[in-house]
């Protein structure tokens, strides 16, 4: 019994070693086996058979980021509200008060975002 805890770490360590050795071994073996004939065409960017065009870097509107952040906040709120609603009868009044405090804090955050004009598409 005494070593169960330490032994589970041994397994983690074995996995770590395999994880490091496998790619290193496979890539080295591949390098030894494959022929080495570089050419111009082989070094171009691979785009599913099409000829490459355009820059690979694409710009996104930074405003999406704000919306994504706000979405995540309310998504997390749902994640917390859902199990609470399911087990409402068992949890009772204390959980209700806790949930109200939680929602109140999020509403404050929403008001903050609103006042700082995050909700406007400028």
């Amino acid at each position: 019994m005494g070593n169960v805890y330490a032994n589970s770490y041994l397994i983690v360590f074995v996995f770590l070693c395999i994880g490091v050795l496998l790619p290193v071994g496979a890539l080295t073996l591949g390098k030894l086996l494959r022929p080495h004939v570089p050419s111009e065409a082989k070094q171009t960017t691979y785009e599913s058979g099409n000829n490459p065009f355009h820059d690979s870097r694409v710009q996104f509107q930074v405003r999406y980021y704000m919306f994504a952040l706000l979405f995540v906040i309310f998504d997390v709120e749902t994640v917390f509200l859902y199990p609470w609603a399911v087990a409402y009868n068992k949890l009772g009044l204390f959980a209700l008060i806790e949930m109200l405090i939680f929602v109140l804090m999020l509403v404050l955050g929403l008001i903050y975002a609103w006042k700082k004009k995050v909700l406007q598409w400028m």
Binding site: Y5, A6, G92, L93, F94, L108, I111
Partner: protein
């Protein structure tokens, strides 16, 4: 949980936390509904008043018996009360600094500045009285995340941005290491409650568990050394201190460091002092790991004090000096005498006073020149003699000259290191030697203030918030230096923190 159990809790014990929380909420709402062109500086007064009321409320709780509420996650014992007094006092002084913070380009998020400071303070308070790893961690993160934003609150300043980024990255790494260490003790004990943990670790006498516990101890020590800016996680301090707004620098060096020591003492004394050690002297794991702490303390003192010799920037100088002070405090911890918590508390009290006072003067002179080079201190004596004398008091206290609170603090820690059996002579010797080294850079500033000619003749006027801070700090530094018994009387009410584990 029924309404009955809910009302059974002594919620009044959380009054200081509630006051700070409500002040922060009021400030954030007030800031949102104020017209954009309105000056936000009055909000700082509300914040200061809120923190002072919380301070009074905490002082009012001192006679109360130790209680723990919410299933032992929130403890009010004398330890938490004593250190909450310190973080609240430090927080109030930092808010006074923030009131008169005037960077050259102006501060566009002044409202946020004040209530984020309050949030960080709340985090430190929760850390001081948590009895559970989860609460402890939530408090730690509340403090850290607020400080990350505060360090970068000057959005257009490249230095401020750099400092915030460095702080986030090194803070993230430190948090990861702390959590990893916590996961080991959780794995070994199967609970996050500190009291239950202390009970569970007593059973872990197997030597295999000893290694895991020692590993957890070292990971926690390394991870938490970030908050107290000691070796091996001290490298962030100079860059972050220099780039962050001066009130935030003061906050990081005082409140954040105090909170770091609180969590360090709470975790290590509760959990590892109860764990049995393997070896010929089977007292406790904490005692068997004493040497590691001692080595880190020694390194912190040596690195902090020697690198400080080369600094020209005042904020970098004080960053290294704050690393050195973390080292002195760690000596108190490494010695593990019976006056350990008392001497650390007194030293932190002296440190709050002398450091915030010095930062108030640094802030005034560096805001004016938009640079924190030591040269701006030249001839301060001719420009404002009273200010120069107060800065002199803070420097003497930081250096540990008799007659100041810094001296008494150092003396307590020094005696604590020699009091134990066997005494820590080596550590005490390093402490003395590095203190002597520290005279060189403290007196370097001294020479600038009193003996160098001033660049400009205009006298230095101090705004009201800074004046209050400097007067309070200088008065406190001298008072506790000449009559340390006043602070001992406060300490006596905590009775050597005997209810720590109850």
């Amino acid at each position: 949980m029924s309404m009955h159990t809910l009302l059974q809790y002594k919620w009044s014990m959380m009054t200081p936390e509630f006051i700070v929380l409500i002040t922060a909420l009021i400030l954030s709402l007030a800031d949102l509904w104020m017209p954009n062109d309105k000056n936000r500086r009055p909000l700082a007064w509300i914040a200061v008043v809120g923190v002072v009321i919380a301070l009074i409320a905490t002082a009012g709780l001192i006679p109360a018996k130790p209680v723990s509420i919410l299933y032992d996650t929130f403890r009010i014992d004398s330890f938490s009360k004593a250190f909450k007094l310190l973080v609240l006092a430090g927080g109030a002084l930092c808010l006074l600094l923030a009131l008169d913070y005037r960077p050259k380009e102006g501060l566009s998020h002044r409202g946020e500045f004040y209530y984020l400071l309050l949030c960080a303070l709340l985090g430190a308070m929760i850390m001081a009285s948590s009895g559970d790893l989860i609460t402890l961690f939530v408090g730690l993160e509340l403090l850290s995340v607020s400080s990350y934003i505060l360090a970068g609150i000057r959005k257009t300043s490249a230095q401020s941005n750099e400092s915030a980024l460095k702080y986030v990255i090194s803070g993230g790494i430190a948090t990861a290491i702390t959590l990893f260490g916590m996961s080991y003790i959780f794995g070994l004990t199967g609970t996050t409650n500190l009291k239950e943990m202390a009970f569970e670790v007593q059973k872990l006498a197997d030597s295999n568990y000893q290694y895991l516990l020692a590993l957890a101890f070292l990971l926690l020590l390394v991870g938490l050394s970030f908050k107290i800016s000691s070796v091996p996680f001290h490298m962030w301090a100079p860059d972050v201190y220099q780039g962050a707004p001066t009130p935030v620098t003061a906050f990081l060096s005082v409140v954040s460091k105090t909170a770091g020591f609180v969590i360090l003492l709470r975790l290590f004394i509760t959990i590892f002092a109860a764990a049995p050690a393997h070896g010929k002297d089977p007292s406790s794991l904490l005692l068997s790991m004493q040497n590691y702490i001692a080595v880190l303390a020694g390194l912190t003192m040596i690195i902090g004090n020697t690198v400080a010799l080369r600094q020209r920037s005042m904020k970098r100088l004080f960053a290294y000096s704050s690393i050195a002070h973390a080292g002195y405090l760690l000596v108190g911890f490494a010695a593990m005498s019976w006056v350990m918590i008392d001497s650390i508390w007194f030293y932190l009290l002296a440190y709050v006073l002398m450091n915030v006072g010095a930062f108030a003067i640094i802030q005034r002179l560096s805001d004016e020149a938009d640079s924190d080079d030591m040269i701006h201190f030249a001839g301060l004596y001719q420009r404002n003699p009273l200010l120069a004398v107060s800065m002199g008091i803070f420097l003497l206290s930081l250096a540990g000259i008799p007659g100041t609170a810094g001296f008494i603090g150092k003396l307590n820690i020094f005696l604590g290191a020699l009091m134990t059996e066997p005494g820590h002579y080596m550590l005490a010797a390093v402490m003395i030697a590095t203190t002597v080294v520290s005279y060189v850079y403290y007196f370097g500033v001294f020479v600038q203030i009193f003996f160098r000619p001033a660049d400009e003749a205009a006298s230095v006027k101090l705004p009201v918030g800074l004046t209050v801070t400097v007067v309070l700090c200088a008065f406190g530094t001298l008072l506790f230096g000449i009559f340390p018994s006043l602070a001992y009387q406060v300490l006596a009410q905590f009775e050597h923190f005997g209810d720590f584990l109850q």
